[in-house]
Amino acid sequence: MALDKNGIAQRIAQEVKDGYYVNLGIGIPTLVANFVRDDIEVEFQSENGILGMGPFPFEGEEDADLINAGKQTITALPGASFFDSAMSFGMIRGKHVDLTILGAMEVAENGDIANWKIPGKMVKGMGGAMDLVASAENIIVAMMHTNRRGESKILKRCTLPLTGVGCVTKIVTDLAVLEVTDSGFKLVERAPGVSMEEIKKATEGTLVIDGEIPEMKL
């Protein structure tokens, strides 16, 4: 069965290693924090200016001066720090952040990503996404494999305005884990109970299948 958003987040959390500084995007990526093993040390960065982001505050303890990039009220963990936006993107541009997890509307087999604009329909802006994808070396995209009409979002070439070129390394969808390689999307894992046929049908881009593909372990 295809994963739900929490399932995607749970699988991505396995990619978060001890000692990592991690930037989580808005949407599914935010949920990843809930599934990270508690026996490892990880610090979450939010690009509006905090390292060491903690969970939501208890009711009545929320602080208007303490939010994440999704404008949600948060807390600061012991050891946290605050900084301005230039320093925040200095951390990102300077490759000090170990892992970036973000959402996408489309990903292409050459590693291009589109997630900020649908011409004529939705123009919300790129926020920090263009800075993140241009500099981060370890980018995981969290997304649904297809859109609401069942059309593939894992493409040969992006159709929407790009956020970044040739930058995505790994994709975790509701159906599969894929790696971007020179020859196409390499199928690494299947969601539990999802068949090869389902994945092939939902993938417009070139799918590279090498031997038996294991199921995700969640």
């Binding site: 208890f58 001066d65 948060i74 925040s88 919300k124 800075d131 241009a134």
Partner: protein
């Protein structure tokens, strides 16, 4: 000590005129210069170009200026959560320049620190880079982005002293320190204005040299955009 204090928001905004370019600090509604925005609404200055990461919500922050059609052009990285903004943009009433967030920060900081322009990898290969000079450094492509030029910067700090030294709080810091000294006139409003010597010089985030006018703000609403809590 060179004193930077003015008596109130009206004095602080003296010289503001139609057609000016304004920088405004804040991320979402966090750390926005509430008093200066209210005064801009009262002055009813028009045709403004506003450089600010976001455009407020329909009835607060820069949304108040949008509602009165005082803004001609908006330079931001993210403009969701504002229906009036979207309407004005789609109808062509409002000119919008979307800029990657880190680039926006860098262009403010460049203006503050006297760099005419910077190279950044952000936006290379996208429509943001169209018509801009690009250059390869160490095998990676970068886009040339020019420093902003603004008439006024409106900044919100937590504490400040009469010399214009500033301390920010939490994530309300965001773009505020980067806009200090990045415009011809920097106007700072603070929640707490103190006498010189009361702030520890070791703790100051922005020295008063970057500030022209400072005043004690009033009646902060500090609205929360997304209240998210957990159960005890």
């Amino acid at each position: 000590m060179i004193k930077k204090t003015v008596n109130n928001v009206t004095e602080a905004l003296e010289g503001v005129k139609d057609g000016m370019t304004m920088m405004l600090g804040g991320f979402g509604l966090c750390g926005i210069p509430e008093n200066s925005i209210s005064e801009l609404v009262r002055l009813n200055v028009k045709d403004l170009t506003c450089i600010s990461n976001n455009a407020g919500v329909d009835d607060f922050g820069l949304g108040l200026l949008l509602h009165k059609k005082q803004i001609k052009k908006m330079i931001s990285s993210y403009v969701g959560e504002n229906a009036e903004f979207e309407r004005q943009m789609l109808s062509g009433e409002l000119d919008v320049e979307l800029t990657p967030q880190g680039t926006l920060a860098a262009k403010c900081q460049a203006a503050q620190q006297g760099f005419p322009a910077i190279f950044t990898p952000a936006g290379y290969g996208t429509e943001v880079a169209e018509g801009k000079e690009v250059r390869e450094f160490d095998g990676k492509m970068h886009v040339l982005e020019h420093a902003y030029k603004a008439d006024f910067a409106f900044v919100k700090a937590w504490k400040g002293d009469e010399a214009g030294n500033l301390i920010f709080k939490g994530t309300a810091r965001n773009f505020n320190p980067l806009m200090c000294g990045a415009a011809t006139v920097t106007v700072v409003e603070v929640e707490e204005l103190v006498k010189p010597g009361e702030l520890d010089p070791n703790q100051i985030h922005i020295p008063g040299i970057f500030v022209q006018r400072i005043f004690q703000g009033k009646s902060y609403e500090k609205r929360i955009e997304q209240k998210t809590v957990r159960k005890k």
